[in-house]
Symmetry: C2
Subunit: 342 residues, 2 copies
């Protein structure tokens, strides 16, 4: 920057004005500076800028206080990331709200002090009230991203999570190819309210109809993400459908299915597809109780959300390909090894 100032024959302050597109510089001066920038192949040092600016990124994660394995994992990742990011001028705060309670989310959003936070990441059921509250937060100058379950159109660009219709289709194709001759399927869903759950189911049904007409969903239970409930419901379903060829566990609560299968099994010819790689599903994959796990990487979700939030706060572009959360497919063989820092 010093060089530029010298070459352009202006002061440092003016160079800064041009670089940051601040007002109050004559066009001729702007041109002079830009020429010098060009000439010198100048690249800006973001770190130094942030230092001088004393920039802090204070980000708030609003997540349901459910204790299922997925949310627990996500919560932990937020904490982990927070610990690393503290060295990069960013602090992560977590706030738990009652699950499936739009009112609680709205209250949490409206309670945010814009002087205390720069951005918010939230997991919420999509309702008009929530969307309005999100808009209010935006109006107060904060960056907002939706996590895991999408919020409607206006926010599309700031959704961090997988395409759940595609995830459902992926599950269906694997199911279609894994089931043997017996094409009767049981689907375990979560909640009718959660957009992600509904979308998975939609995608699953779609693809089966399109490409595996001989495979049919013959039973469907709403497990409410509750392993104990699921464990209790299954005996009856299996009794009613002794010829079941596959089970698709499309939401949380998979541990209930696993317990049932391991306590009453084995079921060597049953194809089992579940969502989310957790300690329980990982173990079940290892033992053969489950055949496939469809996953969205919680670590990636948290990193991506923080990158997006920081980029939005800074009003700088970001790398879409890096922020796209993949639909991971895990078999027994390609499980990532576990392990920590070193």
């Amino acid at each position: 920057m010093n060089d530029i100032a010298r070459v352009a024959g202006v002061s440092l302050a003016t160079v800064d004005r041009v670089l940051n597109a601040r007002a109050g510089v004559r066009d001729v001066t702007i041109d002079k500076v830009n020429k010098a920038i060009e000439e010198l192949g100048y690249v800006r040092d973001t770190a130094a800028a942030n230092l001088a600016r004393k920039r802090q990124y204070r980000l708030l994660f609003i997540i349901p206080e459910t204790t299922n394995e997925f949310m627990t994992a996500l919560d932990k990742k937020i904490a982990d990331q927070g610990a690393r990011l503290i060295h990069q001028r960013t602090t992560l705060h977590r706030q738990k709200v009652p699950p499936f309670d739009p009112g609680a989310v709205v209250a949490a959003l409206d309670a945010i002090d814009p002087d205390q936070s720069d951005g918010v990441a939230l997991i919420a059921v999509e309702t008009p009230e929530v969307c309005e509250a999100v808009q209010r937060v935006r109006d107060r100058g904060l960056a907002v991203v939706a996590l895991v379950s999408d919020l409607p159109s206006s926010d599309r660009d700031h959704f961090v999570g997988i395409d759940n219709i595609a995830a459902g289709r992926t599950a269906a194709r694997l199911m279609g190819r894994f089931v043997g001759k017996r094409g009767d399927i049981l689907v375990i869903t979560g909640s009718r309210l959660a957009r992600d759950h509904v979308e998975r189911r939609t995608g699953f049904d779609e693809l089966l109809a399109e490409e595996f007409p001989e495979v049919k969903v013959v039973a469907s239970i709403e497990g409410r993400d509750d392993p104990a409930l699921i464990r209790k419901m299954l005996p009856e379903v299996f009794a009613a459908h002794p010829d079941l060829g596959g089970v698709y566990s499309s939401a949380a609560g998979t541990p209930g299915l696993i317990r049932f299968l391991e306590e009453t099994g084995p079921y060597p010819d049953l194809a089992v597809v579940a969502h989310e790689l957790t300690p329980a599903s990982r173990a079940a994959l290892g033992s053969g109780t489950i055949d496939v796990v469809i996953n969205q990487d919680t670590g990636h979700i948290v990193r991506s959300a923080t990158r997006l939030l920081r980029a939005t706060v800074d009003r700088v572009p970001f790398d879409r390909t890096q922020e796209r959360i993949r639909i991971d497919i895990y078999l027994k063989d390609n499980l990532p090894q576990q392990g920590g820092v070193a």
Copy 2:
């Protein structure tokens, strides 16, 4: 740091000495400073440190000058990353060497000027000479990571790529479940010299033997990663094995297979598993010519390599879970959308 100096009643310079564990400070002083650090909950600002230190990360990528889709993609990702990282005091340089030529790699390694580079990432065939050259580079103070194909034991911790045995097993399990009654398989390999190729084949054969004894590899061709060669070899193989149930393309050169299948097909009952998500394989997945693609994300590989290299240069720990390259499985349905920056 100023606060610490004040609280501890010492100078800034001394605080710096303690923080960086430099010699020449009395134990009592060290204690005083540490107390102050504790008390104030001090967290160090890496960016400021790097600024003061004028730290630059000059990283060199040594990659084969092959023009297959995978290497091309990798090369592009290095260029892309380089463009972003320039704002973070790190520059990426690329150097191409003749493929499968240990001598060329050794020469390139020995030619590195320690005053011009801080770290090296390389793709190389594992030979004793290469390993020795790597050691020499290390001795000259540079950080080194192996990409895609592992180098032996001493470097294990600095390998960026997938577990190729596991990748082969993954391919085999999918093949085993996707093939119908006709269990005759053709395997297309790359080079006997490349460790990654050999490992995939090993894993593939292992798992088939263990879990799908009825599925058998009846033919195997060495395609040398050359699409044209593969295209030319296939008619004869298919003529000799009219009952082929599956094809596993375990190396590069998949476009040759795709061309053959699309020109002479369709083969509705043929299960096709290939490696690496490229424009060609993506299209083939979409059209149904290929059923599964096993992938290692080139963007992730490059980012991971640079993070590792920088962490090594700085002698700081890194997040193993983030650096583990996943074995991605792609079906038609879970393909990541393409797209760029915004």
